[in-house]
Amino acid sequence: MSNAIESTVPQRHALWVRVSHWVLAFSVFTLAYSGFYILLVHPRLYWGEVGNDLTPALLELPLNDNHRPEAWQQTVTFDTLANTPISASRTEDIFNANGWARSLHFLAGWIFVVAGAFYFAFGVVTRHLWRDLWPRRGGSYSLLQRCAYTGVAFVLLPFMVLAGLAMSPQVVAAFPILLHVFGGHQSARTLHFFGFVAITAFAVGHVAMVVLTGFGRHMRAMIVGR
């Protein structure tokens, strides 16, 4: 088949591609949704190891009242220490949906990791990754598309997993290098947020392109494979 014919014939997706696509899409959507609820509890971002309501923020996201809570009552000044840090007590309840949001986030994270590993393994074995996604000219997808797909699948999403793991106390105790790579717990959290923004931007662009270039045809190809 020549390249010209390939690029006009709708892509035929193998069953394993279709299944992984939808499982991954569902898990990434759930990760974004639950992640946003987690962010709402503390919409302040910092750089380095520490950051809290009593320290300056790199970025305060005015998503709700939690970004700049004022209900603090100073209780202790630790003049026992050279830098005399303070402590203050929170005096009002804040919005917090992390009970379910965190558990949902990690459940979706597990589904993502398992489906991602499945996709990667099949992609390597069938040469799908090289044939259809690796940035090069020719084949069904343009160079720009290939760059976008490769960038999201093999750079951005793995980066999100690592930045997420860098916030886990048990994981960083076992692998302290994660803290050093990301520049600290709060830096990892901030980068995790920017990763979320980038993935959301990709998802919006991806869906827009699907709609603009033949929604029914693309959906049929990704659902029934023809």
Binding site: I38, L39, V41, H42, R44, E49, V50, G51, N52, D53, L54, T55, W72, T75, V76, F78, T80, L81, A82, N83, P85, I86, S87, A88, S89, R90, D93, I94, F95, N96, A97, N98, G99, W100, R102, S103, L104, F106, L107, A108, G109, W110, M167, S168, P169, Q170, V171, V172, A173, A174, P176, L179, H185, Q186, R189
Partner: protein
């Protein structure tokens, strides 16, 4: 800094509208899933960490100059009726003990131990001590670095003589909450019962006279205002006084 009480009432309201998190009480030998889809993910995380990660790795420790400002959240005064964990009976006891400078306070150690005991603050301070500067990571998303001084939980458990069937340590607190950790975390060298913070006596807002520090889990497992320990051979969700029925993961190592 235990967070979960912050919004205990809000969580309870949320639960009413979220049938997926409604749980029945139960006791099993494993951290439970209750057949609940969210708890299944937590169960997977717990078992994956225990299976795949090296055992008892040390959390990073910091320098004195790294110590930061530190919020106190959750229960910051067990005698304040407006706070989530308030219970009249405990509040009266706590007020009395506080008045006496905690001289009459005792840490009871019961359950699967050879010698059920009651340790005074002086008893605990006579045991070996550990000082560590660690990062407290709150589930809300913030973090703070503080210095803690206390007795390794392992030393207290050794003094009481843990029996071979022991699998969990439950912390009972004056703010009426109960939560626990498994033996691996309980015997972790950095898991201490802290009576000192940043070179001072542990302040009330941070859990005076004694609190737990579990450095391999999120802040909400570091229970404040300790009353006693119960060593158990079975998992216990502690009903409405525990995390799980309030919608929180029992295991918070992630």
């Amino acid at each position: 800094m235990n967070k979960r009480f912050t919004t205990r009432r809000a969580v309870m309201k949320g639960l009413a509208s979220s049938a997926a998190i409604t749980l029945a009480g139960c006791s099993t030998t494993e951290p439970p899933t209750y057949g609940n889809v969210l708890r299944m993910g937590d169960w997977l995380t717990y078992n994956a960490h225990r299976l795949l990660l090296p055992r008892q790795s040390l959390a990073r420790e910091y320098d004195l100059r790294d110590i930061s400002a530190a919020p106190a959240i959750g229960t910051t005064d067990p005698t304040d009726p407006s706070q989530g964990g308030f219970m009249q009976e405990f509040a009266e006891d706590y007020a009395r003990l506080l008045n006496g400078g905690f001289a009459d306070w005792r840490l009871t150690v019961e359950g699967s131990v050879a010698k059920p005991s009651g340790f005074s603050l002086e008893d605990l301070k006579r045991m070996r001590s550990r000082t560590q500067i660690t990062r407290h990571a709150c589930e809300e998303g913030w973090s703070a670095i503080m210095e803690w001084t206390g007795v390794p939980l392992r030393a207290v458990l050794e003094a009481a003589g843990v029996l071979p069937d022991a699998r969990f340590v439950q912390f009972h607190c004056y703010d009426a909450f109960i939560d626990g950790i498994d033996m691996l975390d309980a015997l972790h060298p950095q898991t201490i019962l802290a009576y000192g913070m940043n070179g001072r006596e542990l302040p009330i807002a941070h859990g005076a006279p004694l609190r737990v520090r579990v450095e391999t889990q999120l802040g909400y497992k570091s229970m404040k205002f300790l009353r006693g320990l119960v060593v158990t051979s079975e998992f216990d969700d502690n009903g409405p006084y525990g995390q799980i029925q309030n919608g929180w993961s029992w295991y918070a190592g992630i």
